[in-house]
Structures are given as structure tokens and as C-alpha cells.
Symmetry: C2
Subunit: 347 residues, 2 copies
DNA sequence: CGGCCTTTTTACATCGATGTACATTCGCTG
DNA sequence: CAGCGAATGTACATCGATGTAAAAAGGCCG
């Protein structure tokens, strides 16, 4: 038997279609009796609203798109989990996309291609530039995650990456380390998480009266374990001396731990290692990983909240949009074995 | 200005709405000239189809739901990546959901709640029972992943878990290990990935003429690192002796590695460790992890293919559905340091 | 150049739910 | 118990795209 429609429920309950709709949508002025009759009819027929019809009529889907570089980078998976949880609480469904850190994909997300269902987009860009945002044609409500592009184009949520990197670097300096390699760093001005963290690294060094050496900023192709391992191998092969690594994310750090192990270097005795993101793997690695833990739950919660505001705003029509909202989420440095050794680790 | 509709394009191009629709959908009988004029109008107005309208009319959304226990378990993230990639190739969009391994959530997915947009569902259940499937009301095309429930209710794709576990166990036996703990095992008959792997473990032991000891099957609450670590700690505390661990997934194995390290046990000298899934972290752990590598790409590809068949079938109407298709994806044992030590590792 | 067949284009109904505007019913007050 | 305002319920149009069926245009033949 075909799936029942609102019409069938109406007939069965002996009321109009609109009344059924009113019951479904909890419209106030429906008598208790009518409500009950309709509910029973719905139950008996096993009726469920057809979302396509509703969406066409309402112009809203209740779907938000979450666009991240990769799902199999644990940080993004954990972030996605958080966003899904918060979105569900607001009766939103999340459509997850990945861009492979590809600019084309990110642009497509901006214009809502394939996210076309979505009422709004939460985007964690890696390759996007400020120009891309300036020229954006789409008008889809948008929230950016991470310190990605110059501010001023859309709401965005991030931790204070400059400060976080500075603290992490200061921690290493406090342990007496002096030759710190910034793995994944980018020594160029401008926006971007890598740039912000590199800047924090630089400030910490200079704040301690140490010289900032651009050669100690070691770029990587991607922020994954293989690239962290490769960076260490390359740096050693190139004759670089270092007594600490500031890895710009945990994946790089975990890859680096492995490479250091293979080269017979002890962590933290020979080389101390810090990461960013506080992924679960860093809590079980050998040694466990000191890292900057962003308050992912706060990021997720604020992102959803901001997006909901924008969506509501877009629905109002007319009124000029509020200026972009820039939010900073908390972070903290979690000290583990990779900097202070096993005896001081806290589990 | 409001987003243009097909009507606006039609007016601008001086043709009917249907002709515009025909151009959009590459209908054959449209003259080249008309096609060009319409394309230009579309371009000029920046028109894009409204999916809600299309869905209502077509009754298909082009969305498939992928339902997994957790996104932040790397295996599922990697699997999701694969499925998204294959689905995109078929012009499908993937809506990812997670169930927290909760039966209620899995049931909801079966009936399409919140996946209501979807034309079909790919579900990786953990808690579902055969009865749940038997009583299922929904008629949404469905593909199951993993050796989850008794066969016969829906298409499903999995590796041969019994065989895989048998091979992994045989590998340990071949190294001379005799007291092998099955971490995450479930010593009860019936369907389920854990059950299948436990059975393979048992068969390998018995095939080698060794006694199967139910006490060596160590259940866990969840298949995550903390539980792997806890299992080892508990087993040691309980005075269990073992010279190898067959961990039923890599997360458990990685947690176990950490716990063994903390208890001063060397891997593989004192205890050899095997996992399942071949997640990236196991390629960079210290020591690297021997594991059963499922051909995830094959799983993803077959799952999408099966689902597409079912969706097409559902569209035909009338005809009785084809019997459930049971597919087996390839796997292989990847031997690394956690069983054979550093000197024999292959990087 | 009329007749017939094919190609191209169109008008209209339709998918399912809900907003609008109006009709009806109900409960009270005086 | 007439009359009035509030509470309920309904008919109909509408959201945007596309399938149906049929009209219009074009091509070819004798």
C-alpha cells in the first residue's frame, strides 16, 4: 500500500487537511478532542509527513551542511560529532561533506552546490582565500570555523590560535628547549590557522629574547601522520638540530613521534613534542601527547548557534544583515608525557 | 533580489517553463538553438534548480543516509569517506548519521526517521537484533554493513570475519603464542561481528588442538581505546596470564598497547597484539600494529552499488523484490611490529 | 503544394504540506 | 436569549519543477 498522505489522515479523522496539519504542527487552537482523533488516525495509518512537500512549502529544509576537509582526520570527526549533537538538539539534520582541502570543493560549498538542500553552511576551509569570500555569489547563511581567512566576511568561531601557539611554545621554552621546530608552520603573513600558530610560535620565541629562524618553520603538504613523520625524517636528513617539535596538529605530532622513535630519539629526553587538537589517539600514544585542547564542544555549540541566527535573519527578509560575529572559543594546554616524561604524566 | 525560478528563466528565454525544464534535464528533443537561448538565460539569471520542488515532483531526493555508530571511531570515518566518494560518483549525496551504537537510534534509521529525505539507507548496526529487522515497518531500501545480524533480511556487505579472525589467531599461534586473550570477544552464539570473530578465534585454537577457554574471551563495553586499555588492566589485575591479545578492533588494540606499556610489558616480546580494521593510527603507533585490513573501498563500493539497485527496484513498483544479496569483501592480514617486532616490520 | 509523419514546444495538472482568509461554532455577558 | 468576541475549523491557492497529452512547427513525398 502506498504511503499515506495528509489527505488520507484527514479523511480517516473526518476533518480537513489543514486541521491535520495544525495538529502536526502543534497549532494552539485545536480542541483537545479533534487533536486526539487526528492523532489516532495518524497512528493507525502510520502516517509521517513528507518532507519534500513541507520543504517546498516552507522554503526551509531543517538541514545544515557541515563542510570539513576530511572526515578521517580525527579532529574533524570529533568536531562533526559535536556539531551533529548540537544541531540535533535544535531539530536540525546535518549533512556532512568533505572537501579534501580542495579550493574548488570549498567554493562549491560556499555557493551551496550539493549543499543546496541546506538552510545554511558551517565551513571549515583550508584553501579558501579572502578574495573567494569577497566574490561569493551565494547568499546562504554561513559560519566559518577556524582561523581561516581574514575576518569580516562571515561569522566565525575559532580558538585564539596565536595565543595557544604562544603558550605551547612557552611551555617548551620553560622546559629549557631552545631549538624548536614548527612542523606544519607557514612563514608568511596573512590569515590561516597555520599562519596564526606560526605567529604565536614566533612571538613566544621573541618574547623570550630568542631569534626567530624561518628555517625552523617546516612546512608540510598535509596535516596527517605520514607528513609529520616525513617532516622529521627530512629535517634530520637535512642536518637540522632540534630539541623540541611544535607540531601544528596532533596528527603531525603522532607521525613525528613515530619517526623520532625510528631514528632512536627519545621523547621527551632528546626531543619534546607538542601538538594541537587533543585527539583521543594522543591520550593513548607512547608517549602520551602534550597538546593544545580546544573546547570543541564550545566551538560546535557556538557554530550552530550563530548559524541559527543567520538563518532566522535570512528568513525575516528585508533587514540588512548584522555585521559578522567573531567568536573565540576557549582552549587549554594539556601537558602529558611527550614534554615532561612519564613520571609527571597525569592520566 | 529573490532567487530566480524556472518561470523567470522561461520568460527571459521566451519559451515555456517545460522547455527550460527539458534543457535542464537534457531531454533529447530540444533544438540546438532553443537549448542555447535557455542556457544563456540560466547563466544570466544565475538560476539553479530548487531541489525541494524537484524532490516533491520526482519523489526522489538523490540522498542516501549512511548510519554508523560513531564518526570519531576512525574506522567508521574512513568507511564514510569511501562511501561518500563512491556515492558522489553516482550523483548521490550522503547524509551521515551516528547512532552511538544505540538500538533506538538504529531502529529509527531503519524506519527512516530523520533519514526521511533519503532514498535509501546504508546502516552499520551494532545493537540491532534479527527481530528488529523482522518487525521493521519501513520499506526504505536498505543495505547493512558488517556481520551484524542473521542474514536474509536485507542486502549486506562484510568481510569474512570468521575466516579473518581465524587467520589472525593462526598468525599468533604460528609465533608460538598459546595463551591468547580475545579482547572485545563475545562468547555466545548468534550473529554479530564480535561473535563471528570470536568464533574464528575459537576455530583457530581448536584447529591447532588447543583448548578453547571462555575465560579468555574478554568482553568490553565499547570498542574504543579506553576500553582496550581497561580490559588489559582488568585482565592483569585478575591474574590472567597471556602472551598475546587478539583485539577485535584497532581501537581496542591501541588502547591495549598503551596499557601494556604502562604495565611494563614489552610488545611483542612479552605480549603480541593483533587488531582489526587497519586504521591509520596503527601504522604509526609504537610499535606498529599487526591487523586485519578489510578492503574498505570494496565494502563502500559494493554497498553503494547494492543500494542503487534496491532504489531502482523500488522505483519500478509492482515487481517482488529480489532476494537479499550477501556480499563478501576481501581482507588481508597486515603483519607489523606488534607481533613480529621491529626488525621484521615492513614500512 | 497538400498530406502525413516526426520533431519541437506548450498548457495544464500534479507531487504533499501549509499559509491566508474566511466561515462556523462556542461561551459569555447583559 | 440576543448578540458579540474568541476559539475552531475549512476551502483554496501556493511553493517550484516536471510528467502527460496534445498542439504547433518542420520535413519529406508524391
Amino acid at each position: 500500500m502506498a504511503r499515506p498522505r495528509i489527505k488520507d489522515v484527514a479523511r480517516r479523522a473526518g476533518v480537513s487537511e489543514k486541521t491535520v496539519s495544525n495538529v502536526i504542527n502543534d497549532y494552539a487552537h485545536v480542541s483537545e478532542r479533534t487533536r486526539r482523533v487526528v492523532r489516532e488516525a495518524i497512528e493507525e495509518l502510520g502516517y509521517r509527513v513528507n518532507l519534500a512537500g513541507r520543504h517546498l512549502r516552507r522554503g526551509r529544509t531543517g538541514i545544515v551542511a557541515l563542510v570539513v576537509p576530511e572526515l578521517d582526520i580525527p579532529y574533524f570527526a570529533e568536531l562533526a560529532n559535536g556539531i551533529i549533537a548540537h544541531a540535533e538538539r535544535k531539530d536540525l539534520t546535518v549533512l556532512v561533506h568533505r572537501t579534501r582541502a580542495d579550493r574548488e570543493h570549498e567554493l562549491a560549498a560556499l555557493d551551496g552546490f550539493r549543499s543546496d538542500f541546506a538552510d545554511g553552511v558551517i565551513l571549515s576551509p583550508l584553501a579558501l582565500t579572502g578574495d573567494d569570500l569577497r566574490e561569493r555569489r551565494g547568499t546562504l547563511p554561513l559560519v566559518l570555523l577556524g582561523e581561516t581567512v581574514e575576518p569580516g566576511f562571515a561569522d566565525h568561531v575559532a580558538i585564539d590560535n596565536v595565543l595557544a601557539a604562544r603558550e605551547a611554545t612557552a611551555h617548551l621554552l620553560g622546559l629549557g628547549r631552545r631549538r624548536i621546530l614548527a612542523v606544519g608552520g607557514r612563514d608568511r603573513p596573512g590569515p590561516g590557522t597555520a599562519e596564526a600558530r606560526t605567529l604565536g610560535y614566533r612571538r613566544a620565541l621573541e618574547g623570550a629574547g630568542l631569534a626567530y629562524d624561518p628555517a625552523a618553520v617546516w612546512p608540510v603538504a598535509e596535516f596527517r601522520m605520514p607528513h609529520g613523520a616525513a617532516a622529521v625524517a627530512e629535517a634530520l636528513a637535512a642536518g637540522h638540530r632540534f630539541d623540541a617539535l611544535l607540531c601544528l596538529n596532533d596528527q603531525l605530532a603522532l607521525g613525528a613521534l613515530r619517526a623520532l622513535h625510528e631514528h632512536g630519539l627519545r621523547v621527551p629526553e632528546d626531543v619534546a613534542v607538542v601538538g594541537f587538537d587533543d585527539v583521543e589517539a594522543g591520550r593513548y600514544s607512547v608517549p602520551t601527547l602534550t597538546t593544545v585542547a580546544p573546547d570543541t564542544d564550545a566551538v560546535a555549540s557556538v557554530a550552530v548557534e550563530l548559524l541559527l541566527h543567520r538563518i532566522a535573519e535570512a528568513g525575516d527578509g528585508g533587514e540588512p544583515p548584522a555585521p559578522p560575529d567573531e567568536r573565540v572559543a576557549p582552549h587549554r594546554l594539556v601537558v602529558r608525557e611527550s614534554t615532561t616524561g612519564a613520571e609527571r604524566s597525569v592520566r
